[in-house]
Amino acid sequence: MTPRSRLLLALAALVGLAALVLPLWEVRLGAPQYPEGIGLRIHAHTVAGLKPNDLQNINGLNHYIGMKPISPEAIPELRYMPWLIGALALAGVAVALRGSRRALGAWLVAFSLLGAAGLYDFWRWEYDYGHNLDLDQAIIIVPDMTYQPPLIGRKQLLNFTATAWPGTGAIALGLSFVVAAGVWVVSGRPGREAA
């Protein structure tokens, strides 16, 4: 890899660190009586409301359908996800220092696997919250209705329209991956390595 490629790779790896502070995903809920909207922001280390009390208010609403309260403390992934993101970025910097295209390839594969696992895990939690309802405690019971929010896109859940999109943290990770992949592609062109 050229010095320029290595520098670019190191920067790309560091950009991924933004995912430690910026939200990875956002789920917004709209309903006729919520013109101002209500929603959740999923960070690497926690789940928080879009507005200060949104999480509490969403939990308050969810008690009507028997959904268990969303509690960041109950989601173990939130404890080690920041370490994985940090480790991934440091590994990317190490690859850049070493300048090995093979190592970069391995890093990209690991990145992809971690990303896919993360999305699957998120989907699994959404499934869990949306399906495993305590119907004894539910006040509103609609036969065959489940309340899994979308992973991405839009879905109607009773009076709420739920919309989910990647947050700026996920976009930073995507940018990190795309630039690193670009470095991998460019560095594989004949003649480039010699330059």
């Binding site: 009390n53 208010n57 308050g60 008690h63 009507y64 405690q137």
Partner: protein, 668 residues
């Protein structure tokens, strides 16, 4: 005033060929006042509630009522003046007074311009002034005025709301004394009170100027060059104590009192005022506990004009002047002699010169009377009948309400030439232009606040709503746009662009900051506790239940304190609370707020309580029971939650600090 009106109206047959109401309204008036669903009005209009003692808030130009702010009167609609937390706000030296007669809303000002921080309003009967916070639309402070027989000339502000004023409408013996009413002359006095108003929670009667026993009617501060002066109208300079209708209408000229309030401030600082024993209440809402507190004050500083030469002068003004209004430049002082045939306009610069030249026409009780022609800029000739109040559009024009001829007259301030007039339905009192008494009027609309309603709306028996009218003043000719009903006789109103207020609105109270000693921030903090014959219940309200909701062990004759906290933390999620057989009002609970209702059960049995504010889909299920036993029945004290409410989500955000939390006291 209505009684005199009809007499005058009958005596003076006005040959005014006014257009019919329909001829007044132009084709696109509806469009100009229409605010589409979901859109907002351009102005907040604050209307005095008159004899309701409250303030009503309207959107303008639509004329839609959007809020009643309880001030001086109990208000069962939200428990104001009934709950343990708010009752002290109505405390006076006469005890708790649950009603007053509110007249003049006044927005706080910065540099002579309304700033949207607070709204002040006076209570005329038990002399009081109140401060309303405009981030919450809630009365936060009320100060009683000692040495006063009624606070009508109030609560007008100095240019930075350093002070608001209160002039006595009815002079009385000062200090109060048991003397024959016939001894009025010389024994009865008036006061002009200056109330420190720019420190929330610290409002206080800073000083009072002791005045001759006239009736002090209205007032306004100067502006720009005249900013150090305050102007008050007076009538009954005849000092009559009976049949004022006749006896107070004899003098050809009464007075506008010009008071150099900056000089008064200095004289007070120099120790010229006398500390006088009095009793008056200062009530304020503690911002941490959101519980009202009362402090009974025992002394006030009274300043005799003789001790502070140059502080007060009288400007002769024809025939029982009512309004005194200062134009935006601060040069012109418009008096409105309600029985006068002209509108006199005094000049501040001429007044300064007359003082320098000692152009006096004698004195009253040692206060120099300036010569009329030495202070007068000129008179508006043939304005109509019964001028009362004047406001300004900031474009060089003044608008004066004419009570008897029932019209608004527009005239040019510097030439005093009448340029337009429009009828008002019926018998206009005050008029209001947003910012129209300030240095910076928003000269787009004028509201006529009429005293007689008659046929303006569908009839509703003998007692009718009051009639307000919105008039477009943006062009050369005034144009009638809209009638809208108002409640409780709003004497005066003020309005301010919505943009100065709407972004600063509090949407709910932070539960973590709730300092009420009886707060329960979560179901786990609720409970019940007996202290002799008092039983305290700490209860929470959340969609859609109360915790606890089954109470036992209460006996006939106990005082049961329901301390209910709405633990919701979202906008417009309110709960209510009422229990059968209570002899007070319900509670209405804003999110994050604790309010207390006291109930004394009279008969053994089981009594329901329920939520009175439709809160959620399961609002009808938001209820509970209290079991009341005969004393000695031996039923243990218990506060239980239903199985469901005990297992649903604890309300408080787990991340919210609970440092003020008090342990639950009961047996849950």
């Amino acid at each position: 005033m209505r009684a005199t009106t009809f007499a005058l109206g009958a005596a003076i047959a006005v040959g005014c060929a006014s257009p019919s109401p329909k001829e007044l309204v132009t084709g696109d008036a509806a469009q100009r006042v229409y605010v589409a669903p979901g859109e907002h009005d351009e102005f907040y209009g604050f209307f005095s509630g008159g004899f309701s003692g409250q303030v009503t808030v309207y959107g303008l130009p639509s004329g839609r009522l959007i809020k009643t702010i309880p001030v001086f009167s109990q208000f069962p609609e939200n428990g104001w003046g009934y709950t343990e937390e708010t009752t002290p706000m109505l405390m006076t030296s006469f005890g708790m007074v649950p009603w007053d007669d509110s007249h003049h809303p006044e927005l706080s000002q910065t540099d002579g311009v309304p700033d949207g921080r607070w709204l002040f309003i006076n209570g005329n009967n038990t002399p009081r002034v109140a401060r309303i916070d405009l981030t919450r639309f809630e009365t936060e402070e009320i100060v009683e005025i000692p040495n006063s027989g009624g606070a009508h000339a109030s609560p007008f502000t100095t240019p930075n709301s350093e002070y608001i004023v209160a002039g006595t409408r009815f002079s009385v013996p000062i200090p109060q004394a048991d003397i024959p009413i016939a001894d009025y002359q010389g024994r009865f006095k008036g006061t002009l009170s200056f109330i420190r108003a720019d420190e929330p929670g610290q409002m206080d009667v800073a000083f009072q100027i002791l005045m001759p026993g006239f009736d002090y009617d209205l007032g306004h501060t100067g502006k720009g060059p005249s900013a150090d002066w305050f102007f008050f109208t007076s009538y009954n300079t005849e000092e009559a104590s009976t049949q004022l209708e006749l006896n107070a209408s004899k003098n050809d000229k009464d007075f506008i009192a010009a008071v150099n309030w900056r000089l008064a401030e200095r004289c007070v600082a120099d120790g010229k005022a006398v500390a006088t024993p009095v009793r008056y209440a200062h009530n304020w809402m503690d911002s941490t506990t959101r519980m009202a507190r009362t402090e009974m004050k025992t002394s006030v500083r009274v300043l005799d004009p003789a001790a502070c030469p140059g502080m007060v002068y009288f400007l002769p003004t024809p025939k029982s002047p009512h309004g005194v209004d200062v134009d935006p430049t601060g040069e012109y002082i418009v008096g409105a002699g309600k029985l006068a045939a002209v509108i006199p306009v005094h000049s501040f610069s001429k007044m300064q010169q007359a003082i320098a030249d000692q152009a006096f026409d004698g004195d009253r009780y040692g206060i120099p009377v300036l010569r009329y022609d030495a202070v007068l800029a000129g008179e508006v000739e043939k304005p109509g009948l019964g001028p009362l109040h004047t406001e300004f559009d900031g474009k060089g024009y003044a608008y004066t309400s004419m009570f008897i001829s029932s019209e608004v007259v527009k005239w040019k301030v510097d030439t005093r030439e009448i340029v337009d007039r429009i009828p008002a339905y019926y018998s206009i009192g005050h008029l209001m232009i947003p910012g129209g008494d300030s240095r910076q009027p928003y000269g787009k609309y004028l509201v006529a606040l009429n005293k007689i309603t008659k046929d303006r709306y569908l009839p509703t028996g003998p007692e009718l709503a009051q009639s307000a009218q919105l008039i477009d003043i943006s062009g050369d000719k005034m144009q009638m746009l809209l009638d809208f009903p108002t409640m409780g006789e709003p004497h005066y109103a003020q309005a301010i662009p919505a943009s100065l207020i709407q972004e600063r609105q509090v949407k709910f109270y932070e539960l973590a900051a709730n300092g009420n000693p009886w707060v329960a921030r979560a179901e786990s903090e609720t409970g019940i506790e007996r202290r002799g014959r008092a039983v305290h219940v700490k209860m929470i309200a959340i969609r859609s239940h109360f915790t606890p909701d089954n109470l036992e062990g209460i006996t006939v004759g106990d005082s049961v304190y329901f301390h209910v906290t709405n633990v919701e933390q979202d906008w417009d999620i309110l709960h209510g609370f009422a229990v059968m057989g209570m002899r007070t009002s319900q509670l209405i609970l804003n999110p994050g707020e604790t309010r207390t209702l006291v109930w004394v059960p009279q008969r053994a049995g089981v009594y329901p309580f329920y939520c009175t504010d439709f809160c959620s889909a399961l609002h009808q299920e938001m209820q509970g029971y209290v079991r009341v036993s005969e004393p000695g029945a031996g039923v243990p004290l218990r506060a239980e939650a239903s199985e469901r409410s005990a297992t649903v989500v604890a309300a408080a955000d787990p991340s919210a600090p609970h440092q003020h939390g008090t342990a639950g006291t009961g047996g849950r």
